[in-house]
């Protein structure tokens, strides 16, 4: 048989239904005879109900539900994504066999895809400016066009990830001014996470 002290020790487990069947029987036997412990259980139950009523009143908006659906399941079912992906593959294939002009078109095409395949979000990113083509050359022996076309700045964040900087007025210097290479910069703009790209609104050299 439980006493008041035992009940105070297990009262949370009792109201949460976590006691074993045997212990529940014993607790019930004590509660049937003890007003004070019954009041404790009653108040704890009412507290639980008050928490539930208070928190349970909030519901997500229809816009949030739509946003979550769009960014997860439907983003992979929208035909435009597959068309854009196929176009990107073709452009990449073309990039390996055609002239620098075609490579430039490929870059523009990839940027177009980046803009359209996902929702973006405002971001502030810090990292080091590095030339993407030189990195590829060092890593994989890629035939970089830097000697003829100049370097192409990209952002390497602390986690080692390389972010493609989208062409724009605000990003002109970051991409094409080779004097900035190796400097740490802070970029304010929008981030296209899945396309590993950033659109620059403004930046500062740190």
């Amino acid at each position: 048989m439980m006493d008041c002290k035992n009940i105070r020790e297990i009262v949370d487990l009792y109201v949460d239904g976590e006691l074993s069947p045997e212990a529940t029987v014993q607790a019930n036997a004590h509660l049937a005879e003890c007003d004070s412990c019954r009041r404790t259980v009653d108040r704890l139950n009412r507290l639980r109900q008050a928490v539930k009523a208070s928190v349970g009143q909030y519901q997500p908006t229809a816009q949030l539900v739509a946003r979550v659906r769009k960014s997860t399941i439907t983003s992979w079912l929208r035909p435009t994504i597959w068309i854009a992906a196929a176009a990107a593959m073709l452009l990449i294939a073309a990039a390996f066999s055609f002239t620098p002009q075609v490579r430039s078109a490929v870059a523009n095409g990839l940027e177009f895809v980046a803009f359209h395949v996902e929702d973006s979000r405002a971001t502030v990113m810090e990292g080091k400016l590095l030339c993407r083509e030189c990195l590829l050359k060092d890593e994989y022996g890629y035939h970089a066009l830097c000697p003829t076309r100049g370097h192409h700045g990209s952002l390497q964040t602390k986690d080692g990830k390389i972010w493609h900087i989208l062409d724009g007025d605000a990003s002109e210097e970051l991409i094409h001014n080779s004097k900035l290479l190796g400097h740490t910069v802070r970029i304010h703009g929008r981030c296209f996470r899945r396309a590993s790209s950033i659109e620059v609104d403004s930046y500062e050299v740190l």
Binding site: D12, S71, I73, W76
Partner: protein, 187 residues
């Protein structure tokens, strides 16, 4: 590949999306109304990314709560200074509270919310998962990535603390500028 994605989408829609209201309730209590949408969005993006690792025989809701908590810790909580919690086995931090006082009254929702917002976050999460979402202690332990004994301790201390705070606000009802300010911000 497209068929694979379609099947995955269907499972995600069936198993994960119905829990959005429950996750939203928790997100709102953790980061407030202004940031709850962002926390939910990021939680679901991560859940979608790792959905292949979810074992369909297990509880999807608990799995999602665990992701939400991890996202919240990595993106939101690290920016807030919070005192470390005393866990099971440490000294009792909450003064003895015997549930004898009548602290509950009608129209108390703002008091409950305010009291919840002042609880240490790990206590708040345990209480919300137990009282609102009705998860078992084992599931709460999995979400919070702690032993079941710690869950018991957080619930016990957290509820006592909550009752004490509600009683304090109830005593000051109608006259507290803090409460007025809280209600003004809520509206």
């Amino acid at each position: 590949m497209l068929l694979g994605w379609t099947g995955r989408s269907r499972r995600f829609e069936r198993d994960a999306l119905p829990h959005l209201p429950a996750l939203y309730r928790m997100a709102r209590q953790l980061v407030g109304a202004e940031s709850a949408d962002d926390l939910i969005q990021e939680t679901y993006l991560r859940a979608w990314k790792y959905f292949e690792t979810f074992e369909s025989a297990t509880n999807c809701r608990a799995w999602l709560f665990r992701i939400l908590r991890n996202v919240w810790i990595s993106r939101w909580r690290k920016n807030r200074l919070e005192l470390p919690l005393a866990e099971a086995g440490d000294e009792q931090v909450e003064p003895y509270y015997d549930w004898e006082d009548e602290f509950l009254h009608d129209e108390m929702s703002p008091d409950v919310e305010r009291a919840l917002s002042e609880l240490p976050s790990d206590y708040r999460i345990a209480i919300l998962l137990a009282d609102v979402e009705e998860l078992t202690y084992e599931e709460i332990a999995r979400v919070a990535q702690c032993p079941i004994g710690t869950v018991m301790s957080r619930l016990n201390r957290g509820r006592k603390m909550l009752a004490r705070l509600i009683r304090t606000y109830g005593g000051a009802r109608g006259s507290s500028p803090d409460r007025e300010e809280f209600l003004r911000r809520k509206s």
